[in-house]
């Protein structure tokens, strides 16, 4: 317990998390601080490119081992399976309608790439290495949860269907294309490629992440302001319980596969995080009757800040205990 608290305190005192907290505080205090949309978009492109490239270069350096396929398979199963857990939990803990519960559940099977990036930064700061291909696992975990959410609705007799346009939008959304594309560029060019652009994608990375998380803090803070109006106590409790349950499922999968401590943490973070970009967009198209203020507030206002401040240190400690790392 003391370890967890000490790690949580260290994590909270990192520039990255303090920037996030500054954003949350500014939004809660109704400051007019804002990051221009184009700047935030530029930073997200930079972060996705950098994380994808570094992951690819790492795989090129260390080679592909048998755990790659197993981890991707585990990611697919976790992404598709966690919404079923989330859906049943929501039906027990809250009075949400079936449609709202399915829409929320879809978010909790999918991932938050920003939480993933923040976790890689924490691991890097602690000198804990991880498998480079976790970036690819992140990419494959985005979409299956959406299919699970739509399946949950179809079992209730609704006729919501996935059409070809929506499927293409989900699979080829800009974040996934950039992340996977940069991964393959890193894989193709290896450590030489990384060395040639490291002054751009390695050295400034943490500074850019600070500014990006400042913006995310502002967005999450606005989400937190909406909690009182849109969420009951049961839903708020779900927003904290579900990431812990997801992380434990991720840890179990990581132990079965034999991932390193860092890889285990990242699989836990992917399983614990909830989407607030790709899945909300898909839900607006496929389930327009679901209330967006419920799923966005839960994912962005509760789970995202929880994971960044308390979740990541908790997952690092659990992974270290479980893997002996």
């Amino acid at each position: 317990m003391a370890d967890i608290l000490s790690l949580a305190a260290d994590n909270l005192l990192s520039p990255v998390i303090l920037s996030f907290i500054l954003g949350v505080a500014a939004a809660l205090g109704r400051s007019d601080l804002s990051v221009p949309e184009a700047a935030a978009k530029g930073m997200s492109i930079y972060l996705l490119f950098a994380i994808g490239f570094k992951g690819g270069a790492s795989v090129a350096d260390h080679g592909v081992d048998g755990t790659l396929i197993a981890t991707i398979g585990a990611g697919l199963v976790l992404s598709a399976g966690l919404p079923l857990v989330a859906f049943n939990l929501l039906r027990i803990m809250t009075k949400m309608s079936r449609v709202d519960a399915a829409a929320v559940a879809g978010h909790y099977g999918s991932i938050s790439i920003v939480t993933f990036v923040a976790a890689t930064s924490v691991l890097q700061g602690r000198g804990i290495s991880s498998e480079g291909y976790m970036v690819a696992v992140a990419a494959v975990m985005e979409a299956p949860a959406i299919l699970s959410a739509l399946w949950l609705i179809s079992t209730g007799g609704s006729d919501r269907r996935m059409d070809g346009t929506l499927l293409r939008e989900i699979l080829l959304n800009g974040s996934i294309v950039l992340l996977v594309g940069a991964f393959f560029i890193g894989l193709a060019t290896g450590q030489d490629g990384l060395a040639s652009i490291s002054s751009f994608i390695v050295a400034p990375f943490t500074g850019v992440l600070c500014l990006f998380l400042l913006d995310m803090g502002l967005v999450a803070g606005r989400g937190l302001r909406d909690v009182r109006g849109s969420l009951g106590y049961g839903a708020v409790a779900f927003g904290i319980m579900m990431p812990v349950i997801g992380s434990l499922a991720g840890l179990a999968a990581a132990l079965l596969i034999g991932l390193s401590t860092g890889g285990s943490v990242l699989l836990m973070v992917l399983s614990a995080s909830a989407s607030y970009i790709a899945v909300p967009a898909a839900m607006r198209v496929a389930l327009p009757e679901a209330n967006p203020s419920i799923y966005l507030t839960l994912s962005l206002g509760i789970t995202f800040p929880f994971n960044l401040t308390v979740g990541i240190p908790l997952y690092v400690t659990l992974a270290q205990l479980a893997t002996g790392g």
């Binding site: 804002s34 346009t165 502002l218 967005v219 606005r222 109006g229 607030y276 970009i277 909300p280 967009a281 607006r284 198209v285 327009p288 009757e289 209330n291 967006p292 203020s293 966005l296 962005l300």
Partner: protein, 103 residues
Amino acid sequence: MKTHKAKRVVITIEAIMQKRLTDALESAGVTGYSILDVIGGSGRSGPWTSEGQISRASGMVQVICIIREERLDTLIDAAFDVVDKHIGVVTITDVEVLRAERF
């Protein structure tokens, strides 16, 4: 100067649905329209603003078409298939245009 009667259809819809709507309009032969960003507003779900939205998924746009009256039903049928269950507003107003051959 002589003017001609026409209909102005304004469809306020979620940005995520914009491409689906314009595709449906074009399939119905409505190839002229303008798209405007909506910076904020208030409705049944309460007030909202485009500022600080994390993605365009939660933003709104307006698709504006000016057409001859006889083509109105075609446009409305095409639009309704897309906007039916989604947040948004469809309004139709009478307008006058100067160059009828353009519509």
